[in-house]
Subunit: 121 residues, 2 copies
DNA sequence: ACAGGTGAATTACATGTGTAATCGACAGGG
DNA sequence: CCCTGTCGATTACACATGTAATTCACCTGT
């Protein structure tokens, strides 16, 4: 699966949330804090098409875009990549990291424990 | 803190593991599967210096390079960034992801549970 | 004293990315 | 039927990155 750049990822998020959409619709839904023009969004859509992570169907003179890969798959790949690079592939090392940095609230801890307990059953 | 590119990160890893080192030493320690020439490694060292994540001291005609940022800090920042982007900042969502993908061995689960239990005390 | 090796600095060049502007086709309103 | 707005496609351009080669200075052995 092709890598998706950070900016492009924001476009994918829009389409994972709702699809199919026209280029204009995507632009309207991209977080405003990006400050992208419609032209910029169109460039990203083209590049994502070229990467094969989007598909489009014609709708008259326009295209309707939709994701060609599943969000979970992409997210799994990216997080796996990070865990491999930074934690030698060891998930517990990541969790230890987060713990050491106080990134885990008591609620997080409870939730994770619940998840793990269910996993074992 | 400046972003570090993936290739550059491999150089940082070498220096986090052992420092200070000369450029030649770094090149010798970079994983061979990268297939980098000495020149390439020197380019990376310069860029990392420019980014302020390395420092160097003169040793006669050569430089000795050493990290100027701590590995934990960088790793924390990068993993935080990924968790924010892909999981809305929710660590349990990440763990759920890993679980759904069978990325957690029973040993991992046990280890994480132990970590969490200690956290609560 | 000079040649060759070695160091950093400078330059190179293709590709990816962020961020558009412009172009040419076409459709719909007057 | 023509103007104007809207589409996607093409082009633009600067900066980052991967991957070096080249240059210039200096040290060391003959």
């Amino acid at each position: 699966m092709e890598r998706i750049a950070e900016g492009e990822y924001a476009v994918m998020e829009v389409l994972w949330d709702e699809a199919p959409l026209t280029a204009a619709d995507v632009a309207a839904r991209v977080p405003e804090n990006k400050g992208w023009s419609l032209a910029t969004v169109k460039t990203m859509l083209s590049r994502l098409l070229a990467k094969g992570v989007l598909s489009h169907e014609e709708d008259g003179r326009r295209y309707l875009y939709r994701p060609a890969i599943r969000r979970e798959d992409y997210v799994a790949e990216e997080s796996g990549r990070l865990i491999d690079r930074m934690f030698g592939g060891r998930v517990p090392a990541l969790v230890a990291q987060l713990a050491a940095r106080d990134k885990l609230t008591p609620a997080d801890i409870a939730e994770i424990e619940k998840l793990l307990k269910e996993l074992k059953s």
